[in-house]
């Protein structure tokens, strides 16, 4: 396990900033509970993933360079998103390839973590002292699951939440159909994937749907409210940050 970092930064992510500040607050609370006062560097905006996935790596590279500059001074960077962390780790070295930025990006990427991954794999903490007496279904994002290989981290911390009962989905590894630009380029296929995901959730006794990524969560919540299904959607950090 890596050394316990001293200076920790919170990468809020643009979606959390705009749509769900409580996720950022929850992340800070969780980190505080494990004894870390995370800083929130000013000047942070977006990791650039949407630009990259839309087909504009040069524009994404502009954001990547900014991001590296912003977070370079810290021992560890924690984000409430497996997807944004996957972008930093997997794609920053590619979009910055061939420039001095590549090495710098690799160096920061190595100490950038999704929240539950940071707790379990860096700090060795599964129990963050949270309490949430509900039946919960977890949708780990595809990036959390496959790029980071850290879906088990999210499950591990949820299992240690007091009162929380984790219920299994039939197809936990199935994509919810979001995929950023995919969801608006091919809405019909995206919606078909969403329908199946929501059916999977509805077939369980879950009262709350929890995800590691706000992108998936907004997609899932948008589908649920369109169908008129009342099911709470919460981010992992909101569950862990609650008491």
């Amino acid at each position: 396990m890596p050394d316990r970092p001293h200076r920790v930064a919170l990468f809020v992510t643009c979606l959390v900033d705009q749509f769900a500040p409580s996720v950022a607050r929850g992340t800070l609370q969780v980190l505080e509970r494990v004894g870390l006062r995370a800083e929130v560097p000013g000047g942070q905006t977006c990791c650039g993933q949407p630009l990259l996935n839309d087909g504009f790596p040069d524009q994404a590279a502009r954001l990547a360079r900014r991001w590296v500059e912003t977070f370079e001074p810290f021992d560890a960077v924690v984000a409430p998103s497996g997807s944004c962390v996957a972008t930093v780790r997997e794609f920053y070295p590619r979009v910055l390839a061939g420039s001095p930025w590549e090495g710098r990006a690799r160096a920061v990427a190595q100490r950038t973590y999704e929240l539950s991954e940071f707790l379990v794999r860096v700090l060795g903490v599964e129990d963050v002292g949270a309490r949430f007496p509900h039946r919960v279904a977890l949708h780990a994002s595809c990036h959390q699951l496959r790029s980071l290989g850290a879906a088990d981290c999210a499950r591990a911390v949820l299992r240690r939440v007091a009162g929380l009962e984790l219920v299994d989905l039939a197809h936990p590894e199935a994509c919810c159909g979001f995929g950023g630009v995919f969801s608006v380029k091919f809405p019909e296929v995206s919606e078909a994937m969403l329908r199946d995901k929501l059916q999977d959730v509805s077939a369980t006794t879950a009262e709350v749907l929890v995800s590691t990524d706000l992108g998936c969560l907004l997609h899932l919540a948008g589908g649920l409210s369109r169908k008129g299904v009342r099911l709470r959607c919460l981010h992992l950090a909101e569950v862990l940050g609650g008491s």
Binding site: V16, D17, Q18, F19, A20, P21, A24, V40, G42, G43, Q44, T45, G48, P50, L51, L52, N53, D54, G55, F56, P57, Q59, A60, R62, L63, R66, E90, F91, R94, C142, H143, R146, S147, E173, A174, C175, G177, F178, G179, V181, F182, S183, V184, K185, F186, P187, E188, V189, S190, E191, A192, M193, L194, L218, H219, A221, G222, G223, S225, R226
Partner: protein, 459 residues
């Protein structure tokens, strides 16, 4: 490869409205995917095999010229003929010429994607030569004038009733005939074709450079008939199919078969080296190998897409792809469908389907996880998207991206824009346009938080 009748959006939108299609696809792909998981788990060293396969492919492609020349020499040494085809037309014309020189009226074929790619059947028919597909699925594709919609299960999109009706019309079986009756009718029909054919045409799963061997993997035994009954055997293969040594099959056969059908080994594996030799009892009088480029050299020269040539066409990526499962193979408008097809089609053709196929993926990464040669399909889709971003069709998006990056690089402006967005939100929600409208078709738009986090954090 014929141009797609409609773009991916239109075709996939139609496909999701057809629950029977989805069910038909899912039954097969789920079954294949489950079996793949079972039989790959049996081999504790499966991932070691994958790494080894990757290295062999990388090495072979890096030295492709050398191995192709070695292959050519080895085939010639065993009395075979080697032909080089730069593109689809040359490949098809070459096979037609061989058939003509053999005086062939009828030819039998076993399953081969590259002959679909070069549209060989059309060329043969135009030359007055009748091709008969002998793989059961391909036979159904042929008599229905259809196209394969999956790499190894070409009629995955058809239901049993569709096939029964087809056979009633073409082979005279009863409308309610059970599957064994249908397969028996096909068998009887195809047996005649085998006996009458002058030339047998196959693809190749692998070509072995050191021995000049064509390797065919199949389950129906038809490829073996195609290569042993007619006087002449023509194997058509992409140049990327070559492997250096016979021993490499020990790596690739288990990877291919277990990843493709979830079997430990296919019912038939044929290793064919040249025509019938002196003193041999079986085999054709003449053997021809047609090596097809058709865009592969260009892909080889392309550092971002080169990896696509490592594909062994196992279809594991199709069988786990949530988009393929719902859109179906035909939506990709190419003989190569699914995640690898979304890469191969624009790569091989130098851009066909570039504006939509690379986007036909949520980038969930399931394909990369199962690929027996660990091809980074999502990475290549993103690389292709970058090329799509440079096309004329994307000029407005390109401008929007530049503005977005400019704004997101200026935190103060970003904060002002956040305020402006909240002022405009009610209007946008009432009349969503563009991407927002496409989102709002089936999903409610998310609401901006009244105060963004950065404002609270600054306080």
């Amino acid at each position: 490869m014929s141009p797609s009748a409609a773009g991916f959006r239109e075709a996939s939108a139609r496909a999701v409205l057809d629950p029977a299609l989805r069910e038909a696809i899912r039954r097969v792909t789920d079954n294949l995917a489950v079996r793949r998981v079972q039989v790959t788990a049996e081999l504790p060293h499966f991932d070691v095999l994958r790494d080894r396969a990757k290295r062999i492919k990388e090495h072979t492609l890096a030295n492709l010229d050398r191995y192709l020349e070695q292959l050519e020499a080895a085939v010639r040494a065993r009395g075979g003929h080697v032909h080089w085809a730069r593109d689809a037309e040359e490949a098809a014309a070459c096979v037609v010429r061989i058939c003509r020189e053999a005086g062939a009226r009828r030819v039998v074929k076993s399953k081969s994607m590259v002959t679909e790619e070069v549209e060989l059947n059309r060329a043969l028919l135009e030359a007055g030569i009748e091709p008969v597909e002998t793989d059961l699925g391909e036979f159904v594709v042929q008599i229905s004038g259809d196209r394969p919609s999956h790499l190894i299960a070409p009629i995955i999109h058809k239901r049993r009733e569709d096939v029964a009706e087809l056979f009633r019309r073409h082979l005279g079986t009863p409308a309610d005939a059970p599957v064994p009756v249908l397969t028996a009718a096909a068998r009887a029909h195809l047996r005649q074709a085998f006996l009458q054919a002058d030339v047998g045409i196959t693809g190749a799963n692998f070509l072995v450079a050191e021995t000049g061997t064509v390797v065919l993997v199949e389950n129906e035994g038809n490829a073996r008939m195609v290569t042993s009954l007619p006087r002449v055997h023509v194997a058509v293969a992409g140049i990327e199919k070559v492997l250096p040594r016979l021993a490499d099959l020990a790596v690739f056969l288990p990877l291919l078969v277990r990843s493709a059908t979830g079997q430990r080994l296919s019912a038939y594996v044929s290793l064919l080296t040249g025509p019938r030799g002196p003193g041999e009892r079986d085999g054709p009088d003449a053997f021809h190998l047609v090596l097809v480029d058709n865009g592969r050299s260009r892909v080889l020269a392309d550092p971002e897409l080169r990896e696509a040539l490592q594909c062994v066409r196992c279809s594991a990526c199709l069988n786990v792809c949530p988009v393929y499962e719902r859109a179906g193979g035909h939506a990709y408008g190419s003989v190569y469908s699914g995640p690898i097809g979304a890469v191969l089609t624009p790569a091989l053709t130098g851009g066909r389907g570039l504006v939509d196929l690379p986007f036909a993926s949520s980038l969930c990464g399931a394909c990369r996880d199962v690929c027996p040669v660990r091809i980074d399909i999502p990475g290549m889709l993103v690389a292709l998207r970058a090329r799509a971003g440079q096309t004329a069709e994307a000029r407005w998006e390109r401008r929007a991206a530049r503005v977005a990056a400019w704004l997101l690089c200026r935190p103060r402006l970003y904060r002002w824009a956040s305020v402006a967005a909240r002022v405009l939100e009610p209007v946008v929600r009432r009349v969503p346009v563009g991407a927002l409208r496409r989102w709002a078709r089936g999903r409610d738009l998310p609401r901006l938080s009244p105060t963004p986090f950065h404002r609270a954090a600054r306080r």
